[in-house]
Symmetry: C2
């Protein structure tokens, strides 16, 4: 059995799934002196990462030898894919290895994963709150767009359960700092999923719905181009995240269904209050909401 893999340099980190976040982890860790290995489906990405010196070795197939070498494995996979991968390959992971992930929803993942691991393998869940808009069509485009500056100023959330050891929690927090995140915060699974439903998923659902209202008229492309010329920064800011990876986000929504539905219903309630106040000419209710939103939003200013 390996020793507990404290994050001293010379440790080997295997990244499984070198999408946007996985590839940025690989870059950040190799730049900091760790030995990084990669497993991802795209041979193009493996070739590029090898050529860039981002990984020391890699494969587009599951590779028992790479897995055995890893002190730490980071899964940059969608929730359902992560679980499938572990069902097939968990037996290849040596005792003493610490696993972590980057998935944006925890309730449906963490306990399930923790229950399926071989003895001596610990899984400590994390959520790097970073990303980019859609960055291109090919996996190679995504790899090229994956740079650790995404993590600057961002939050790294560590989401332990009562199955986790203090050592693994500490290692995971250290990983967040090494990756360059501005803040590392510890949250329970429930608190994480409620918070992410409100701050991230509801926000994306709103932006997508608002963008779907855009009426280009008879000649859609022409009408949208005209609207775009008239658009101010507020609308642009609000809809930036309406460019969205539909496969990933629909899975994230479904993985957090009940919690997100709760948040969506609260939003519909508030928005309908505003709508009805307008319909009734009830200026005071509208102003009260505006004053409340102004005061609350002040708490979110970066300098406060």
């Amino acid at each position: 059995m390996k020793q507990f893999p404290y994050l001293i340099p010379d440790r080997t980190v295997l990244i499984v799934g070198m999408g946007l976040i996985g590839a940025a982890y690989a870059r950040a860790l190799s730049e900091t002196g760790y030995r990084v290995l990669g497993i991802t489906r795209s041979q193009e990405v493996i070739d590029a990462a090898l050529a860039d010196g981002v990984i020391a070795a890699g494969s587009s197939q599951v590779d028992a030898e790479l897995i055995a070498q890893a002190d730490i494995i980071v899964f940059g996979l969608y929730p359902a894919v992560l679980i499938e991968w572990l069902q097939q390959n968990a037996h290849l992971i040596a005792p003493g290895t610490v696993l972590t992930d980057v998935t944006g929803v925890k309730g449906c993942v963490v306990e399930q994963v923790q229950a399926m691991l071989p003895k001596g393998v610990e899984y400590i869940s994390a959520h790097p709150m970073a990303g980019r808009e859609l960055v291109g069509n090919s996996k190679l485009d995504v790899y090229r767009a994956a740079t650790p500056d995404m993590f600057r100023g961002a939050n790294y959330l560590v989401v332990p359960t009562d199955k986790n050891t203090p050592e693994a929690i500490c290692l995971c927090e250290q990983l967040g700092r090494i990756l360059g995140f501005a803040r590392v915060t510890r949250l329970s699974v429930e608190e994480h999923d409620r918070m992410i439903a409100y701050l991230s998923q509801l926000t994306h659902a709103i932006a997508v719905s608002l963008m779907c209202c855009a009426d280009g008229g008879a000649d859609e492309a022409d009408g949208l181009a005209r609207l775009a010329r008239l658009t101010g920064d507020s609308f642009r800011d609000l809809t930036r995240i309406a460019k969205i990876n539909d496969a990933m986000w629909s899975e994230l929504f479904l993985s957090n269904r009940d919690t997100l539905l709760e948040q969506m219903d609260i939003f519909i309630d508030r928005f309908t209050t505003m709508r009805d106040a307008l319909a009734e000419g009830d200026s005071e209710t509208m102003r009260e909401m505006m004053r409340s939103s102004t005061a609350r939003r002040r708490a979110f200013d970066k300098n406060s």
Copy 2:
């Protein structure tokens, strides 16, 4: 009767209402060599603008002599205040003067104003799509925050009716260019109000409602501070405009009530479609909306 006041230098422009937009107009025009006069309620703002050389003369009272000197009058007032001001003072405006405004809603203002003017006075409506978040508590704070760089990259909308002359429309468009707006566009009153309901008012109603969902828990301030530490850029971008001048925006909403209600109902419909798809596990409907929003949002990218 004065000559038609083409925007050659040495023309005198009177700004009535030196709030954020009015004051920025005054700065931009005086820097470009026009003689600028100011009428605004705050004596502090008049004193500061005189000291800064932003206006050549000014008053915190309605001043018949200043009004008589103006070739062009720009009203930087809320819609209801503008109409009240003209009811009391339109008789002071000399024939040949061209009036314009900065109000964000046109349907309830333009025809009413055009109907109440003395013979020989023309009103051509404009909407500078620029602004800032709430900038402080005093009128002097607002004046200090009013800088013409707000107009850089922004849209200037000219909203003529069949009462307007080609000369006045042309002068108004020229004004937008002199002020430094990136684009000057001509729109009908109806098109303007529908467009503004979608791009601006609905967007603000959403941001305010979303911010009003923020649940700080038992200790509100503490809870909000914790949420804020976990907040990513998407949420911050989307709620930036939830800091809002409640007096101004509730009036803008009410001034465009029917059109905005229509847009709010379309949004509720789209958002509910997303909500119900999630509730039913209908991944394909969610993904279809996400693909559609992604394609539409691309039309709004600044470089396209």
